[in-house]
Symmetry: C2
Subunit: 337 residues, 2 copies
Amino acid sequence: MQVAILAHEKFPGRAKTAVGILRYADYEVEAILDRDRSGERVSDYLSDVQDAPIVSEMDDVPDVDALVIGIAPIGGGFDESWRSDVRTALERGCDVISGLHYFLEDDDEFTRLAEENDCDIWDVRKPHDDLTVSHGVATDVDAEIVLTVGTDCSVGKMTATLELLEAAKEQGASAGFIPTGQTGIMIDGWGNPIDRVVSDFTAGAVEEMILERGDDYDYLFVEGQGSIVHPAYSAVTCGILHGSMADKLVLCHEAGKEAIHGYESFSLPSIEEYVSLYENLARPVHEAEIVAGAINTSGIEGDGSARGAVESYESELGAPATDPVRFDADEVLEAIL
Amino acid sequence: MQVAILAHEKFPGRAKTAVGILRYADYEVEAILDRDRSGERVSDYLSDVQDAPIVSEMDDVPDVDALVIGIAPIGGGFDESWRSDVRTALERGCDVISGLHYFLEDDDEFTRLAEENDCDIWDVRKPHDDLTVSHGVATDVDAEIVLTVGTDCSVGKMTATLELLEAAKEQGASAGFIPTGQTGIMIDGWGNPIDRVVSDFTAGAVEEMILERGDDYDYLFVEGQGSIVHPAYSAVTCGILHGSMADKLVLCHEAGKEAIHGYESFSLPSIEEYVSLYENLARPVHEAEIVAGAINTSGIEGDGSARGAVESYESELGAPATDPVRFDADEVLEAIL
């Protein structure tokens, strides 16, 4: 599928979804829309992803199947300055894929244009209507369940999950992905947006996905969310932990991080405490062990210092660790498979 | 306010909401609707609550302000055999209060009748639109926060919360209630239905209530939900624990219970393990201590044996405990206030 990605004024640093799609999705990205960087290219900023031109508006985009909204402003609203691009896309018969909290399906103009031009609006963050409570049966599937858990939000859980998945596949393992957030869902083309489901269905929405894919693979890599110590998001983390009934956990961390992002008065516990918390909380539902770690060292200059951070993380964790982007996910795969 | 409570075919054993309202709400209950027990009285079944006649339909109910749906079938749907009662209530100008998953507001006939007769439909389980994420500031309020937590669902957390609240008030303490489930919300006339909010807002929906009431009292008693080891509902439990930033926890248990209700393959951990789990999970967000226990001994015949169960629970818990219904909530109040 050929797509364009809208990332106005935010590419690449504040366009996590756009970058995730460029790096991991099977889509052919034909253009990035960023009116501040028109005329430049993706490769001017990022070396390890597919390249594409950056254009200022949808009118400059060649023929594509879909326009993806690749940024999410605080609050998840729709920025009216994007309306003409979405309108143009629909008028050209392109589908529109959005992970905003604001559902494009609820916008009368967009719905009408989609109908007139026979194209689809896919609000990735809109949970489907048949979700229900967990039945505690995720262990019934054939696959072993590997879940990424975090010391905080935004420490690289999705990235670690996808890097481990790719590495496992390259080693010939039969491995599938369970996306739980909007970027993961866009990348894989399916999934339940766990942070938007009814709270009673948090675990059930994860279980449903595992039951759907769990007999097709030997391993399922489940994208984790939030952190079990997060003042706002721990409920989602807990629901994913228990709903997935994970066998193995990979603890994701960002080097040097000391407090919860956006909640700076909350210090991070020690790595040892995270290990106990996650393992002890998992146990009554299904025994899980933290078998490996992924640490984001992008804030550290120099591979030598980064390697030092990995080694120090390994010793705190009592398990092998790596930075799966800077170094290699392979380094911890033996502990997981 | 004068109310009638619909509890067809389920009073009193399977009508938890109806019984909760009879016992704890300030409403004057003028009638119970149960077509299987018409002609009998509440006092034929329950001795410790307000008495009322049991009638077969709304036509037999004297003048009331509201009809309350006092039962919740599995799945939370609306039973069409109740339609004529709801219709009659609305035609008589009565408000209708429902905690069903199915929203009566979405029913065209009911909405039309409510409008024609100038009365209100209150879907207790419908979250309001302005919920958001927690800001981690529940400790900013003046009140000390006391939260009931459980070894399982349906062990008596709401009952313990309300009994402790009443006992505290009787001792002259300034104490308020934070309802988190449909029965608690109906009893207190306000509140967020935590199991129905968007999962990302679980903690935030609790925090919002604490900020609203927390400066008006010295103590807030927060109704807990589910259990931290429940395969389906732990997300809600975790969100309430962290969102409330509780100072003191009361662990609620049912005597003799060995497995999760409805999930019988999941054994309950030891009481000691629950204490560690709840306290260790609370700590990174806000330090909380399990200071007392409430144990439901209604399944035990004879006060002597029940007293034995309380004492054995106390020693496992390492804190004072009581059955607040059978014995007295006062017995643990000193540990809480």
